[in-house]
Symmetry: D2
C-alpha cells in the first residue's frame, strides 16, 4: 500500500500513482477527507478528492484505500473506495465502527495512539459483529516519552496478534516514525517481524506536501524499499 | 457535577440524584449512550435513559450533563441535556466536535488518554470555531506505564491551561484514578491546584453497577467529599 | 525542605538559607555532589560544598539534606549531612541502597522516572533490610508523553502509599514539573492529597543558577508558598 | 551474544555454553552479580559465578560478557570478563560509568527504561571521556502503557543512532519483550533494522531458571534463531 498522505490535485495523485505502480505497489492510499489536529489546517479535498482517486484506479488499475471520517460520509466514501481506512483517532469511535461493519468493503483499522492490544482487537470486534469480516489491523506507532521519533513503532504486537487472532496485520512506518530516514529500516524490520504488508507515504515533492511531508518517501526511495522488501520476503517465508 | 456512570433505571437515577442534590452537587451526570470498549458490554439505555434524566431534572432541579456519542444522535441528546459531554475517545472525532459546535448547549470536553495540551486546546477550537463558546475542559487522567492506578491524573495541566487559555477546566478523579479510595484525596488535590469543578461518579450500590463500579463513591462518601471541598475552597480563594 | 538545587558558593548558600529559614522551612536542601546527564555539566562542589552546608547549619540551625552519589563518598557525605538523599537515577542502584542502609542517618529516597510503586517500595526495602528504618519516600514526577511539563507529577501515589506502607512520603514539585509557575499550585495539590512534606528549590538568582534555574522559586515566592501551605494544612487535618 | 540470565551452577553454565557455541554464538553472557528489584530475590553467585564464567571461556573459547554492579567490585569483574555490561538501572550511575571508563575492557551499555537517546549517548560519553572508547550501546526496551509485553522494544533508535553516532548498537529482545515467543520475530526485526548484534537469553531448563525464565530460549530455539539471522544478514548487507 503506497501513496501520498493527502490527495492534493489530480496531477499530484496521478504522478505518485504511476511511480508506486511501476515500483510494484498493490494498493494506492490517499486521503480525501483528512482528520487534522487543528480546525485551521488543510482538511482534504472531500468528494473532489474521491473523484481523483477514482481516476487513479482507472488509469493504473490500483485499488484505492482512503479514510472514512464520519458516519455521514461513510457511504459516499464506500462508493469510490476499495478499502475503508479508520484512522487512529477514530479507533474507538464506536458508531463509525458499527457503520463500516454494515458496509461491504474491507476495513483497514489503525491502532489508536495509546490503545492496548485488547482494546484494538475489541474495536475490530465492533466491525466483525456487524457482519463485515474483512478487517485488516494496522500498527502505526504508540505515544511514549521517547522524543527522537514522532511515535514509537511497537512491532512486538505482530507476533502477539498472530498468536491470538486470525486477522491480518500491516505496519505504517511513515506515521510510526514520522521521519523519512527511518522508513526504510523500519519497513525491513516490520516485514522481518512478520507483518502482512506495509502502508507507505510517497510524495513526489514532499517539501511542498500539504500534510506530513517530513515522513513521505521520494519515489526513488520507494523503489529501493520495494527492492529490499522483495529480498527479505522469501527469507521470512513469504512471497513479495 | 455528580452522578452514576450510566443511567441503569429510573429508581437508581432518582435515588442517586436525591443524594447528590442534598449534598450540594450543582449538576447531575449520567450516561444514556455509553461508549464501551467491547461491543458486548452494556451500551446504555439510549433515549429511554435521556427520558429518565429529564425526570431527574424535573424532580430535583439539577441540570443534566450526558454524553453525546455521534453526530446522528447529537440533536436528540441536546433536546434533553443541559450540557453535552464529549468523551475522551471522541476528543479527536472532528465531525462530532463541529456538530456540537453548531448546537447551542455548553460542551464538557474530556482530554483523550494520550493528548498533549496543544491537541486538547485545538479540539476545543473545533467547537469554538463553529460559534459555540461555552466549552469546559476536563482532565480525566492520561495513560502511562504506572500500574497502581487506572490512569495517571495529570493535575499540572490546570495551572498551564489557566495561563494560556480562558476556558474553565474541571477534573474527573473517578476515571482519573479508577479507584474509590483515591477519589477523595485527588478531589482535594484538584481543587487545591485550581480546578474549577469536579466530576464525580456516585452510585448507591457500586457493587451492582453496570459500568465502572470500582471507582464510584457511595453517597455518604460524596457527602464527606463535599464537606472537605467546602473547607478547601476559601483557602484557594474560591466560594464553594 | 527548601534550598537551591546545587550549592554554588558560600554566599549563595547562606543567603538562600536565611530566606527559607525566615519563611519557616524545617530542613535545608543543597547538592554538593550533583548527578548530571552530561559529563561536561557542572558536577557540584564536592567536599567543599559539604563544608558550606555545615556552615549553613551552624548559622541557621537548619538540618541538612544532600545527595549521596556513590558508595565511595557515602560516608563522607554522612559525616556532614543530617539526611541522605538518593536521587531518582540511583533508585535501583542496589549497592548504594545497601550502603546507606548501613549508615545511621535518615534517607530520602526519590522515585525513579519510570518506577512502579512496587519497585519504589522494594528499593526502600533494600535500605530497611540493612537495619536503617528511617526512610522517607519522595515522588518527583514520572516520564510520560506529556510535553507541557518536564515530568508528570503522579500525586495519586500518595493515597496508595498511605494505604499499603507505613513510610512517610513527600513531594518534589520543583523537579516534578520543571516550571516555576507550576510549583505553587502543585505544592498545594500535594498537601491536599496527603503529602507529609514538600521539597522545594529556591534560588535568589535563578537566572544565574548553575543547575535547574527554571524551576527554582524566588525567595518571595517561597514565602507565599509557606503561607498557602499553612492555611491548607489544618483543612487536611495537619499542623503546618 | 548468548547465554543464561544468571549463572546458577557450573553444570548449567557449561551446558548452555556448549549449545550456544555449537550454534555459532560469538560471545557468552551470564550474570554473576545480579541487580534484583527485591532484596529477597536471588542476587547471583558473585565471585563464584565469575570463576564459572572463566571455566566456560576456557572450555569453549567464547569471550565472556557479565554485569558490573558497583564501583567496589568493578575491578574484580574486569579481571574475569572480556566485556563489562552496565545494566539499564545503572545507565545513569555516573560514578560507575566513570569507573568502567578507566578500566581497559569493552563496555556494553544498556539503555535505561525511560532514557531519551540524548541521555543514552551522554551516558556513553561519561565512559568515552575517561579514555575508554570501546562502548557498545544496547537497546533493551522502554517502559510504556503497553501491557502485552514486558517492555516496548524501540527499534527505531537503530537508524537514529547510526546517523548521529559512530558507536555500534545491539538489541536485547529477551528483556525487550519478556516473552519467549516474541524473541525470534523481534530478533529478525532487529537485524533487519540494522542492529550490529543480538543479546539473547538461553537456558536449558527455563522453567527452573532462578531469574527471567519466561523470556529465555531453549537451546533448539536458539539454533533456529541463528539459522534465520544467517539468512537475513546478507540481505541487509552484512556477514553473519
Amino acid at each position: 500500500v503506497a501513496g501520498p498522505c493527502a490527495v492534493e490535485s489530480e496531477q499530484q495523485a496521478l504522478d505518485v500513482a504511476r511511480h508506486v505502480h511501476a515500483a510494484g505497489a498493490s494498493l494506492y492510499r490517499g486521503g480525501a477527507f483528512k482528520p487534522r489536529t487543528s480546525p485551521y489546517s488543510f482538511q482534504g479535498l472531500g468528494e473532489e478528492g474521491l473523484k481523483i482517486l477514482a481516476r487513479v484506479r482507472q488509469e493504473t488499475g490500483l485499488p484505492i484505500v482512503t479514510e472514512v471520517l464520519d458516519t455521514d460520509t461513510a457511504e459516499l466514501v464506500a462508493e469510490y473506495a476499495d478499502c475503508l481506512q479508520i484512522g487512529a483517532r477514530n479507533m474507538q469511535n464506536f458508531s463509525l465502527l458499527k457503520k463500516v461493519g454494515r458496509l461491504r468493503k474491507p476495513v483497514l483499522l489503525k491502532r489508536a495512539m495509546s490503545a492496548t492490544i485488547e482494546e484494538f482487537l475489541l474495536s475490530a470486534e465492533y466491525i466483525l459483529s456487524e457482519g463485515n469480516y474483512e478487517v485488516i489491523l494496522c500498527e502505526r506507532g504508540v505515544r511514549t516519552f521517547a522524543n527522537h521519533t514522532r511515535n514509537t513503532l511497537d512491532l512486538s504486537v505482530i507476533p502477539y496478534v498472530k498468536r491470538i487472532s486470525h486477522l491480518p496485520i500491516v505496519v505504517d512506518p511513515s506515521h510510526g516514525t514520522g521521519k523519512r530516514m527511518k522508513v526504510l529500516p523500519m519497513s525491513r524490520a516490520a516485514v522481518a517481524a512478520g507483518s502482512d504488508g506495509l502502508l507507505i507515504e510517497v510524495h513526489d515533492h514532499p517539501e511542498l506536501a500539504l500534510s506530513d511531508g517530513p515522513q513521505a518517501l521520494l519515489p526513488e526511495m520507494f523503489v529501493q524499499l520495494m527492492k529490499e522488501v522483495r529480498l527479505l520476503a522469501p527469507v521470512v517465508g513469504r512471497t513479495a
